[in-house]
């Protein structure tokens, strides 16, 4: 049994999803200095996936994810662990944060900390978890098996 979602949800999703994703990326990047961060950003991206799921079902979520949900989880853990070990490699302690100052001239100067990289790992794990849950638990009628 496949129920078509309401026209409202479908149309709303079209505008909501890109917006949510942009905001989630924004929250991830500014997290170190303003409200936001990997957890919040990841949850918001997960919320975007939820909207996709409600409007298009499992197939829409699967086609939206570039890689399987498990790979996102794994990449997240690897990123976080690599950042943690990075502290050791650069002759400092495990999980010690480092920072790279980039002067981009007209665009202003950015500082990219290893904290951001660590947060990217957190972000990916949260996204991976939400997508796993959506794909595994969501909407049993639609399952092919």
């Amino acid at each position: 049994m496949k129920v078509r979602p309401s026209l409202l949800v479908e149309t709303g999703a079209r505008t909501m999803v890109p917006t949510l994703l942009v905001v989630s990326a924004f929250l991830l990047v500014v997290g170190h200095d303003s409200p936001g961060g990997g957890f919040v950003g990841g949850l918001l991206a997960g919320g975007a996936l939820l909207v996709v799921f409600l409007s298009g079902g499992r197939a829409a979520v699967t086609s939206m994810l570039p890689v399987p949900a498990g790979a996102i989880l794994g990449a997240g853990i690897m990123t976080a662990v690599a950042t943690a070990i990075g502290g050791l490699v650069f002759g400092r302690a495990l999980l010690d944060a480092g920072k790279l100052e980039i002067d981009a001239g007209w665009f202003g100067s950015w500082s990219v900390g290893s904290a951001l990289l660590f947060d990217v790992g957190v972000f990916l794990v949260v996204v991976g978890l939400v997508s796993t849950v959506l794909l595994q638990l969501g909407d049993p009628e639609e399952r092919e098996e």
């Binding site: 170190h32 936001g36 409600l54 498990g70 002759g91 495990l94 947060d119 957190v122 991976g128 849950v133």
Partner: protein, 763 residues
């Protein structure tokens, strides 16, 4: 200098990742062996520095500096001997494996594991911190587990891997206990300082007993030895490297490391010597009966490990010197023999002595390698095995250990006999036996890669036998001693001659010896053995676990929750009342907005208990969460508010999915009593948590952590305190939390898949 070593270890880890993208066997072999070759060169350079004069190379990398844990590097002569073996034998075996494993995908996985193992083993022998030692020790256990179970579709391989990991894992825990005891007693975590100031008294003895259990399990000493023959289900190159040349010697490495300081302890010498000698005899006896060439070598390894262990028992310099020399010789000839066995297997398709016949004539080069290595094992001059065994005999004679000498000599007779049995079984032309199922050798000529590595290792045993100074340079820097090629007309030479002659005799009468062994075997079958003890222990553990689970896990969610909640309230409450302390509350200041939101929370919470259907209850719980998020907003905590709002939204949605699978409405409460009980419990927990939060937040004596964090945040490069806490101050916690998230995701996947495949049987 040590920086380069760290770089090489990292290169090994990188190689483990890089082999996954290699496309040909040649690059595979090159990528895997290059870091090991670099390490061999490094060892040669390090030997030119002052290490062999007694000045160790040192260095340190902070790991968890706030906990005082760091990787202190300490490379002395003993470490160099091991590094030399790990690198040279490792490089030869990496090349061999790239040819031996014909399936490229398997070869990649195998060499990745091999490179990781080499990195762990290097760390193990170079680290000077007990925690670092333990970590590397366990890493070698894990890689060994994965290599023994390499053929993961075979049940027997998985069982053998499990036995190995359980045995050595328990030993690892004992080792950790012993090391921690020692560091508590002596207030140092440095191994070199522990050896310099060995502990005394009962605590020291207990710690040493625990460490010995660790070393004995790792080095397959009786009664823990039975995992090693099982480990032969690993691919042959892994057996050659891990289960003969290097990893099983980790335990012995520890004995060498500690013996100079710890052998004064009353239990060290009697236990180590006795266990070593018993292991040597049992291993040799078993090796004589094997019909599988690889198992023969496995029991021979058990025996030789026992020999070396016994030599570390007295702590006398001459014995330690001889022991380390024997260890080097054993690593060379045994790895050569294992690789030869692998090649025989690859060419003839069998390792069974009863089936093999006439291989010596057809493959003379391989046979020559086998003869070279087996002769070294038997102790025939002028090979390294002879030179080092002479040193051991001399050390035993000079210190007057006559009983030990007799045992070693008897086991050595068996060693000569099983060396001959190996050669006869592998290469001789025999009349076909009734069990035989002769196979034709229509395989193509063995590729160079299957002959050259064992040849190099075998020739190394001959060259170092002719020029023992090459080895003695390293070994005598550990403990002073001589390693002459021509020992002179001393009693030790007579012992060697008698041993070899007797060994030849035993092989000559192999049929009669075999019958005797069968008779003794049928007599001792009922005696307790290490293997049986292992099986019994595992069965007992499973039974106890089953019983406990049946008792504790009722499978009822209300029971679980009630247990948890009752404990949550009663344990702190008892502590509180028994402490008799009073509370001095500061006045609370509450805003109108808070009161409104709190009223909303309470209303929604009460409504949940009255909700007719599950869906309504979930929505009301969502409302509770939203209201709490509102309180966070009032307290100007946007991060928390945002996170909570999103969590509530997603949770409600997920609940909605799951609720399609359970009855729409709540079941009727079966007993009025349980309903009342739940109400009381819920109110109790709510009241307790409320009171506890109010008391905790009003009872402040010093500055709060949040103020300290806010002050420190800019030093960590961020102005959002919450995020700085997550990614910097408490980054280790975050790492743990996201790991939990990943595990939860895997759990959900497995659970749902399980439900799907067994409908109606969800447990």
């Amino acid at each position: 200098m040590t920086g380069v070593l760290i770089f090489i270890v990292l290169a090994l880890v990188a190689a483990a990742a890089a082999v996954a993208v290699t496309r040909t066997r040649v690059t595979l072999g090159l990528v895997a062996s290059a870091p090991l070759a670099a390490m061999a060169i490094w060892t040669a350079f390090a030997a030119e520095s002052d290490v062999l004069e007694g000045t160790p190379l040192t260095g340190s990398i902070g790991w968890l500096p706030t906990l005082g844990v760091s990787f202190d590097i300490h490379v002395d002569a003993l470490s160099l001997v091991f590094l030399g073996l790990i690198s040279t034998i490792g490089a030869a075996i990496a090349v061999y494996s790239a040819v031996y494993l014909t399936d490229l995908a398997k070869a990649r996985r195998f060499l990745a594991l091999l490179a990781l193992f080499a990195a762990a083993m290097t760390g193990l022998v170079a680290v000077d911190n007990i925690y670092g030692l333990f970590v590397f020790w366990e890493l070698t256990t894990i890689t060994s587990y994965l290599l023994i179970g390499f053929e993961d579709r075979k049940g027997s391989a998985r069982a053998a891997a499990l036995q190995a990991v359980l045995t050595t894992g328990i030993g690892g825990l004992a080792l950790l206990g012993g090391l921690v005891l020692l560091s508590q007693e002596t207030a140092t975590t440095s191994i070199s300082q522990l050896v310099a100031n060995p502990p005394t008294g009962t605590v020291g003895t207990v710690a040493i007993a625990l460490i010995l259990i660790g070393a004995f399990t790792k080095s397959a000493q009786v009664p823990f030895h039975s995992w090693l023959p099982g480990a032969m289900s690993a691919p042959t190159p892994a057996s050659a490297y891990l289960h003969s040349a290097t990893m099983v010697k980790a335990g012995i490495f520890l004995l060498f490391r500690l013996s100079p300081g710890f052998s004064t302890d009353p239990i060290w010498t009697p236990v180590v010597v006795t266990v070593g000698l018993i292991t040597m005899v049992i291993g040799a006896w078993r090796a004589l009966r094997q019909t599988d060439l690889k198992l023969l070598l496995a029991y021979s390894t058990v025996s030789q490990l026992g020999f070396i262990t016994a030599l570390t028992g007295t702590g006398s310099p001459a014995m330690l010197h001889a022991g380390l020399a024997v260890l080097v010789a054993h690593a060379l000839f045994k790895s050569a023999l294992f690789l030869t066995t692998g090649s025989i297997d690859a060419i003839a398709g069998t390792r069974d002595i009863r089936v093999l016949s006439g291989l010596g004539r057809r493959r003379p080069t391989l046979a020559a390698v086998g003869v070279l290595a087996a002769a070294s094992m038997a102790g025939v001059p002028p090979l390294l095995g002879f030179v080092t065994k002479e040193a051991a005999f001399s050390a035993l004679i000079d210190t007057g250990q006559w009983a030990a000498l007799a045992v070693v000599a008897i086991a050595s007779v068996a060693t000569v006999a099983y060396s001959l049995r190996y050669l006869w079984g592998a290469f001789a032309t025999k009349p076909p036996s009734p069990e035989a199922d002769p196979k034709g050798f229509d395989a193509p000529v063995a590729p160079m890669g299957l002959v050259l590595p064992p040849l190099v290792l075998g020739v190394a045993g001959a060259v170092t036998g002719l020029f023992p100074g090459l080895v003695n340079r390293f070994v005598s820097a550990f403990q002073p001693g001589k390693l002459p090629l021509i020992p002179g007309w001393k009693p030790a030479l007579a012992v060697s001659a008698v041993v070899v002659a007797a060994g030849v005799l035993v092989h000559w009468h192999r049929d009669r010896v075999g019958r005797t062994q069968d008779r003794v075997g049928s007599l001792t079958r009922r005696l307790p053995s290490g293997d049986r003890a292992y099986r019994g222990a595992v069965a007992l553990l499973n039974r106890v676990a089953d019983r406990t689970t049946g008792l504790v896990q009722s499978g009822s969610l209300p029971v679980y929750l009630s247990t948890i909640l009752v404990a949550t309230v009663s344990v702190p409450a008892v502590a509180w009342f028994s402490s008799g302390s009073s509370v001095d509350l500061h006045p609370l200041s509450v805003s109108v907005g808070e009161i409104a939101l709190a009223a909303l929370v309470i209303t929604a919470a009460v409504a949940v208990t009255r909700a007719p259907s599950r869906m309504v209850a979930v929505l009301l719980l969502g409302a509770v969460g939203y209201a709490i998020a509102g309180i966070f907003v009032i307290y100007a905590a946007p991060d928390l508010a945002l996170t909570l709002l999103l969590v509530e939204t997603i949770t409600v949605a997920i609940f909605a999915f799951v609720l399609t699978k359970v009855p729409r409405r709540f079941e009727q409460e079966r007993s009025r009593f349980f309903g009342r009980f739940r109400a009381v419990l819920a109110l109790g927990v709510g009241g307790f948590v409320t009171a506890a939060s109010i008391i905790a937040s009003r009872q402040r004596s010093g500055p709060s952590d949040s103020e300290i964090y806010a002050e420190l945040a800019p030093t960590a490069g961020g102005s959002n305190v919450v995020n700085v806490i997550l990614t910097d101050f408490r980054a280790l916690d975050t790492l743990g939390e996201i790991t939990v998230l990943a595990v939860a995701a895997i759990g959900i996947t497995v659970l749902v898949r399980g439900l799907r495949s067994e409908p109606g049987e969800g447990t």
